[in-house]
């Protein structure tokens, strides 16, 4: 019980900061949409190719946005050395992990909805299997948020954090990109039977790394 209370305290704090600063909405979302537009420049929009590869492009864009969101989540802790303040409160590392992860996941999920609408409009995608999409997206988001929070704290405070974070995070997320893209393809084509195994894989990934984070984050957070 105490873990949940402390975690929701941290999540509420991060989300309130995000709501005030509007970095996610004002900077990360426009970034995602411009990336989606640039993909259309790179791939001929008239050939129908864009519509076919839309799920992959969508999730690549989400991954890039996630790098920014994770970086931002830990940049907030570095300003005025708030991280030390947070550590001094004696909060459990697991609670900090769950709180920060939940906040990142909420931000990403919000981004995915808006970016998804943009992709549907820009790429002319037809959505058939909404249920599959709604089962796959949260799982992929939690997978990204859990590994992102773990690697975010690993890289936080290091001088090379901006370059280290993508190198650490993107290879680990390869299965998430693969799974989320296949699940979305299945969902969009209205062939959900192809998609469900991938949804399962995404949930396993998310569960696994969330558990890992709960166990390991404290050590990284305390630097001991």
């Amino acid at each position: 019980m105490r873990l949940w209370r402390e975690a929701s305290l941290v999540a509420a704090k991060d989300l309130r900061i995000e709501a005030r600063s509007r970095i996610a909405l004002g900077q990360i979302l426009p970034f995602g949409i411009i990336v989606a537009i640039l993909f259309a420049f790179a791939l001929d929009p008239d050939s129908g190719l864009l519509t076919r590869v839309a799920p992959g492009l969508f999730w690549v864009t989400v991954l890039l946005a996630a790098l920014l969101a994770v970086g931002r989540s830990f940049a907030v802790e570095e300003k005025s050395n708030a991280r030390d303040g947070l550590r001094l409160t004696g909060l459990d590392g697991s609670a900090v992990f769950l709180g920060k992860m939940a906040a990142i996941a909420a931000e990403l999920f919000f981004l995915e909805i808006l970016l998804g609408i943009a992709v549907v409009i820009l790429y002319g995608v037809e959505v058939n299997g909404v249920v599959v999409l709604l089962a796959a997206a949260p799982a992929a988001t939690l997978g990204i948020a859990s590994t992102g929070t773990l690697y975010g704290v690993l890289a936080a405070g290091l001088r090379s954090r901006e370059t280290l974070l993508p190198l650490l995070l993107l290879p680990v997320l390869a299965p998430v990109l693969l799974g989320a893209t296949r699940a979305f393809e299945g969902g969009l084509e209205g062939a959900p039977s192809d998609a469900w195994p991938w949804v399962g894989l995404l949930w396993i990934f998310a569960t696994f790394y969330t558990a890992f984070g709960v166990l390991a984050f404290g050590t990284l957070w305390e630097n001991d």
Partner: protein
């Protein structure tokens, strides 16, 4: 401060070193001349004598890194020894992974007609390469021995548990979606007789090379630590030199 200066007993190390040299020479002789060319793949098949053992050692090295990392995290077995072993093995693992990719690519050109193909094993190996490249980049960042050791160990385990997930998902992806394929099963080499013997020699020789290099890399880490310790003692002397502290 140095719980274990040498990973292996020096005599054992010399035996392994000599064995590795003999193994590599034997591999060259068998691989280049002793074994006959494959009746379908021709001379290109000889690349498998490098490809197969380096792929095996890449995975083995990362397994060693994972086990050593787990032993470091477990408080009862925590020792700087395990952090050094994990780092040394990961470096070798990345080298063997790179070798696997390069040799695989060289082999793919004549056999498949392409330098790179989206084969499940190839893709998994490539992701593995970058996973551990990131781990090595993280390792280079200095800090207190225990806290960086834990940080490294956790990063190694995050990467290691990803390996089966990557493998599984990539395998799945390629089998579900495989269309016109460049992989003709007729092209698979049939390995028997001298060829099989050569392959076994290759695996043995590479494993000996790995163990020998692991020991040497470990020794380098020990020397690095000794140097760092001397530098620290010097720095403390410089910092306190002109004002000895108050007596107890």
């Amino acid at each position: 401060m140095n719980p274990r200066d040498q990973l292996l007993d020096p005599r054992l190390r010399r035996v392994i070193g000599v064995g590795a040299v003999i193994g590599v020479v034997a591999l060259c002789l068998f691989g280049l001349w002793g074994a006959p060319p494959d009746d379908r793949q021709g001379e290109a098949m000889r690349l498998l004598y490098l490809h197969v053992p380096s792929a095996w050692l890449a995975y083995f090295a990362f397994l060693v890194t994972a086990i050593a990392s787990a032993l470091f995290l477990w408080p009862r077995t925590r020792s700087i020894v395990w952090d050094r072993v994990a780092g040394a093995s990961a470096e070798l693992g990345v080298i063997f992974t790179g070798l696997t990719l390069v040799v695989g690519s060289l082999w793919g050109r004549p056999i498949w007609g392409v330098w790179w193909a989206w084969d499940a094993r190839l893709v998994t190996t490539a992701v593995l390469f970058f996973l551990y490249l990131g781990y090595l980049a993280l390792r280079r960042i200095p800090g207190d021995a225990i806290s960086t050791g834990k940080r490294n160990a956790i990063a190694a385990l995050i990467a290691f548990v990803d390996v089966p997930i990557v493998h599984f998902s990539v395998e799945w992806w390629r089998t579900l979606h495989q269309k016109a394929t460049v992989f003709n099963p007729e092209l698979s080499a049939r390995i028997e007789g001298v060829q099989a013997l050569t392959l076994w020699i290759a695996v043995l020789a590479f494993t000996l090379v790995y163990v020998y290099l692991l020991d040497r890399r470990y020794r380098l880490a020990v020397i690095d630590d000794v140097l760092a310790e001397q530098a620290l003692e010097q720095a403390i002397k410089i910092r306190t030199g002109d004002n000895p502290g108050v007596g107890r």
